[in-house]
Subunit: 375 residues, 2 copies
């Protein structure tokens, strides 16, 4: 079987790391020959994943396709589906999800609880929604890892909004952010991972650390799982889906957004779960039985992101100290250059109880900094 | 750091799989462009690992070197050491171990308990050792996975012996075969994995399945660990060493042979131990702190070897059934062609008790066969 992956970043890298366990011919399309995944596949094709012809030519050489980022040329994937190629997730799902307006409309149409919203085409339209504040403004396309999202609490924040198609969402009084991963195979069977608590850095709007399993009362866990299953079934596509949800102070659950792919919130599954999210996606791609999403151990996960005011050849300060810590697993993404906020690696911690997991996550964060090499 | 690996088989493949977690530039030398490791490194160099010039040229392009098989050109590695390259294990250790005569002499010299032996240069010499029988005849060089070993119980078996340099070892009344892996870093610090029980197929003289931890009384465990540590310290070289030992019915422990590299008997460490043997070797190669060799869970391991009377494009019969089994991890080595006895993959099983581990190892062996595709 020949499987093509659109994108060669760290998600592609970890997918290929897991592919080593199976007999599969791997192909990567990416326009950076030094990307994290470039040297780990059978065939690396230099090309733009947003270019119709590049994606079409690439797809015609493989049997099945998946993505590691939503920002790909969906028209080409649709054409490839017409030609008989299988795409995980389907081009239709990618079209819905890659645009936040259609993603929100999809939730509404399928009665998936998600914060109330209005669509704004430009800044002038945004300014007409004073009564809707406080709210969150999200660019329809191109946002990623905190970029393309702005909090609009009062009229004075309007100027921070986007002068481009976007959604304006009612602000939820957040008690907790969680993420949950659901796998769907070609037969429509599902496997669901335990939800994780996402501790988000309020300044960078980026994951600070996460803990699995999430600390939630059972009644809300049921609600989360029911919503996640209903949502992925509505997509009517095999694939792996990471659903980010907000729990408000009243205990209501709201879908924040969905990623139709392996996701940062699932990296702990490599060591902490019987079947990792990467293994699970390969099982779906190769028509293998779904794996066991259960945890071997509770875990926490710390992202290693480029420090502020540092750009250039990367230096992992404190790496040795973290490598000395027991039951702590370091993953570096092989990116030569660091930039402020850039995801450069992650660390997974296994421990028995939540207190130790949080304590050790903080210890890792203190010990290790992603800096630029001193000149 | 640029690290070169001599050999591109499954051991190289799994080493490269682990290297994905670190920022290291990987190089492979192997004379088969379709070998299991070829597509997983930064630089694949086509060449013969037994050829002086090929190894020398390769080694000059990297900072450090390791091996995945002992049969390499040691002269070139010695020259590279003179030029300042670090080799793990050292060329001196490889020279001792790759020849069974010098390996046995090393054990004797360092008072490492190992079966009594005589050296035979040819069949005529072998036949002079009637009084030494029953014994095991082992070719000095070129033996691997059961090839190059013959049981000589009586004079009538002499004709099965090797007409080439070899050792003739007194036969031990074996109660148990175990293997134990010891890691040694550049500072001489050691980490020792729990010993594993090796269930050897007496017909093929190849590993049938293995269980970790070995079922041995504590007194003998201490003896095993003491011998293993003494042995690797005698080598005076950093590296990872797998020591195969025999326990006789009197409880005495004998070193059978040593592999100065990652080893089949350590594959279960990928899922069942905090730090896998592959991770451990990278930590040694990269001057990182040694990892934790402790088990997360007891485990068993089944090799997937090519069925008898099957040669040609591989078909893994029963793969789906094994992929459905809980807490069972499949590793296929990406070899296109199967041959009788060829190592094509392995399966690791996690379970709480020994009875279940053995039961499930047998279940995997029954469920899965490595056959050739039907024409």
């Amino acid at each position: 079987m020949k499987v093509g992956i659109l994108g060669g970043g760290q998600l592609g890298r970890m997918l290929l790391q897991q592919a080593v366990n199976y007999n599969v011919e791997t192909w990567i399309l990416e326009n950076d020959a030094t990307c994290p995944a470039a040297h780990l596949c059978h065939h690396f094709i230099l090309g733009n994943i947003n270019d119709y012809d590049a994606v079409l030519d690439f797809g015609r050489q493989v049997d099945r396709l998946t993505i590691e980022i939503e920002g790909v040329n969906v028209d080409a994937l649709e054409q490839l589906e017409k030609e008989g190629k299988l795409v995980f997730p389907s081009a239709a799902v990618l079209r819905i999800i890659k645009n936040k307006i259609s993603q929100k409309q999809f939730y509404k149409q399928h009665e998936i609880p998600s914060p109330e919203f209005v669509v704004t085409q430009n800044l002038a339209e945004l300014m007409q929604h004073k009564a809707f504040l406080p709210a969150v403004h999200k660019m329809a396309e191109g946002g990623y890892d905190g970029r393309g999202v702005q909090i609009i609490d009062t009229e004075t924040d309007f100027s921070k909004g986007f002068d481009a198609p976007a959604v304006l969402e009612k602000k939820i009084d957040i008690a907790k952010e969680i993420a949950i991963i659901v796998a769907v195979n070609g037969k429509g069977q599902t496997a669901i991972y335990p939800a994780v608590d996402m501790m988000v850095d309020p300044y960078k709007n980026q994951l600070d650390y996460q803990v699995c399993p999430a600390e939630i009362v059972e009644k809300i866990i049921w609600r989360i799982e029911a919503i996640a299953i209903r949502l992925v079934q509505a997509f009517k596509s095999p694939g792996l889906f990471a659903v980010e949800m907000l729990i408000d102070r009243g205990g209501d659950v709201w879908v924040n957004e969905t990623a139709p792919r392996v996701h940062n919130s699932g990296h702990h599954t490599i060591e902490a779960h019987y079947c990792s999210q990467f293994d699970m996606l390969w099982r779906i791609l190769l028509d293998y039985p779904l794996g066991n999403p259960d945890a071997i151990s509770p875990s926490s996960l710390v992202n290693l992101v480029g420090a502020e005011d540092c750009s250039g050849p990367v230096h992992y300060k404190g790496l040795e100290e973290v490598l000395k810590m027991e039951n702590t697993f370091v993953h570096l993404y092989g990116k030569a250059e660091t930039r402020p906020g850039r995801k450069m690696g992650h660390v997974t911690i296994l421990a028995k109880d939540r207190q130790e997991l949080s304590y050790r996550a903080h210890k890792v964060k203190e010990a290790m900094k992603v800096e630029a090499e001193k000149k």
